[in-house]
């Protein structure tokens, strides 16, 4: 089952990176219902605009359509999904089972996350799992892909004489350059790389100085040469949203200048988009940034405009 082209999974995202392009992905939040149309509409906004679309896994611990199901719906609409898997809700048995299933259904990218604590969601009294952490989850996916073994050591085959049939996944991880303690942030990234991450998505960036400082540390360790780092961006729709995110989203920093600029603007949304586009331009200049990941929260329809204004259209066919 191994691809004969040096690719680990052969996903579009992996090929875009391999061809040396500056990658663009976006986030698609599944609906808080079984409404298929929501996924179709959002997928429609993103088709042809991004290299892959990242499907969140019950983000902020609010129950939504599963990442895998919404990812499949997006795939049918012609988008390549990056399925998110968090450690919050499933143990090693469930995750490995889901990875087999996801691969069987055509999924080739998985983003491994710890997951937001259930305290923030709509079922705060639930029991969490955290059998694994995100570093261990990355390692498990790599072991499944490269060693063709489950975490327990058993080979991934259906019987003694059956062929090995491992899930070949392009493995992603997350990094937050804005969390504390700051010196640990790059150590944690290094561990994710060593565990087997092929690409990294960062928390949304507003504090460019701190991000650049983090990237300097990343380069110092040569990590940018071992993993594709995608800078995370969330365009701000309004001053209210910016304030809410600053005050309520854990591990996120929004400098006062950004808020000031937004509050002085007549058309806040347009200014938010403009800031985002300028950020992409600045990010492209930073050595080691291999792409951007746009998390336009319930604003997927504006992603095309951002990508276009940033001069990143059309997306490469690889």
């Amino acid at each position: 089952m191994k691809e004969g082209n040096g690719l680990k999974a052969g996903s579009n995202l992996e090929r875009v990176f391999q061809a040396g392009h500056f990658a663009v992905t976006a986030e698609l939040g599944p609906p808080k219902s079984a409404e298929v149309e929501v996924v179709h509409t959002k997928a429609g906004y993103l088709k042809g605009v991004v290299d892959a679309v990242n499907i969140t896994d019950n983000q902020t611990a609010i129950v939504r359509m599963s990442s895998l199901a919404a990812g499949l719906l997006a795939m049918r609409e012609g988008l390549e999904p990056v399925i998110q898997i968090t450690c919050r809700d499933r143990n090693r048995i469930a995750i490995q089972s889901d990875v087999l299933g996801a691969y069987a259904l055509g999924v080739r990218n998985i983003l491994c996350l710890s997951g937001d604590h259930q305290k923030f969601g709509n079922h705060p009294s639930c029991k969490n799992v955290y059998d694994l952490d995100s570093v261990q989850l990355i390692g498990m996916l790599k072991e499944m892909r490269d060693d063709k073994r489950f975490l327990c050591g058993e080979e991934i085959r259906n019987g003694k004489n059956a062929p090995l049939a491992e899930p070949r996944i392009f493995i992603g991880g997350a990094a937050n350059p804005f969390g504390d303690p700051f010196p640990v942030r790059v150590i944690r990234l290094a561990k994710k790389v060593r565990a087997g991450a092929d690409f990294i998505q960062t928390q949304c960036i507003y504090d460019m100085e701190r991000f650049e400082e983090w990237m300097r540390q990343v380069r110092e360790r040569g990590l940018h040469e071992q993993v594709k780092i995608m800078a995370g961006l969330t365009p701000l729709k309004s001053v209210g949203m910016a304030q809410y995110m600053r005050d309520n989203v854990a591990g996120l920093r929004i400098p006062d200048q950004v808020l000031e600029r937004l509050s002085k603007a007549q058309d806040k949304a347009a200014e938010g988009i403009k800031i985002c586009v300028e950020q992409i331009q600045r990010l492209r200049e930073i050595e080691g940034v291999a792409g951007v990941h746009i998390m336009a929260i319930e604003w997927e329809k504006r992603v095309a405009e951002i990508v276009e204004k940033a001069g990143l259209l059309p997306r490469p066919k690889v």
Binding site: Q136, F178, D180
Partner: protein, 222 residues
């Protein structure tokens, strides 16, 4: 120690109001230290219950006693007659004590007055905080003596999640980020390099996930 807090009074009242003759039984160890179920708390709860019974016209008869420990057989001897003479026991011990008392006195209803919380320590008067999750495979040697299983909200073994800020946990700004504590401690010990090691998947079977815990030591068996 095992920490606990008293249940809401109304919950306790509803639990015991029809008990006839009630023995409130305190425990002199952990829950005395965390000021939840010792002799003093037995006295206060008994008075409050008597007052409530008078106001509400209940004929509940209340006796009080406190023993050294409710998790060991021998300490029950002095109160045996009182327990047998009561219709129900309202135990102010942790969950272990409540159950052990129940096991010792077959046919006797033993009710919990406390909500048992965690293995922890007194940080300051009136403030207790968790230290151990009883996972059965201690990892403290690898983390500078700060437990990521008990003190990280997600029990992460390979570093802090993205939500930690200014040394506080994303779950509650009053709680220290366990990983900030680990980082500070490892830093002070000159052991930061070891934070680079990837911590393997943990075997949870030695804790709750392995089923009800049981220790058997033949070397000390009689």
């Amino acid at each position: 120690m095992i920490t606990a807090v008293q249940k809401p009074f109304e919950e306790i009242y509803r639990m015991v109001e029809a008990s006839g003759k009630l023995l409130i039984l305190g425990c002199g160890t952990c829950v005395t230290v965390c000021m939840a179920g010792g002799e003093k708390e037995v006295g206060i709860l008994a008075s409050t219950l008597r007052l409530a019974c008078r106001e509400r016209g209940s004929s509940l008869e209340i006796e009080e006693a406190t023993i050294e420990r409710q998790c060991d057989r021998e300490f029950f001897d002095p109160v045996k007659a009182q327990v047998l003479g009561a219709d129900a026991v309202l135990s102010m011990a942790c969950g272990v004590g409540v159950q052990f008392c129940s096991e010792l006195f077959e046919g006797k209803r033993v009710l919990p007055a406390l909500n048992t919380r965690f293995y922890g320590t007194t940080v300051q008067q009136g403030l207790w905080s968790e230290r151990c999750a009883g996972c059965g495979t201690c990892v403290l040697d690898r983390f500078g003596g700060v437990c990521p299983v008990a003190r990280c909200a997600k029990s992460l073994l390979n570093g802090p999640c993205g939500g930690a800020q200014d040394g506080k946990c994303e779950v509650d700004k009053e709680i220290d980020c366990g990983w900030q504590l680990i980082y500070d401690r490892m830093s002070a010990l000159g052991l930061l390099d070891s934070l680079m090691e990837i911590q393997p998947v943990k075997d949870w079977s030695t804790g709750r996930d392995g089923g009800p815990g049981r220790i058997r030591r033949q070397d000390v068996e009689l």
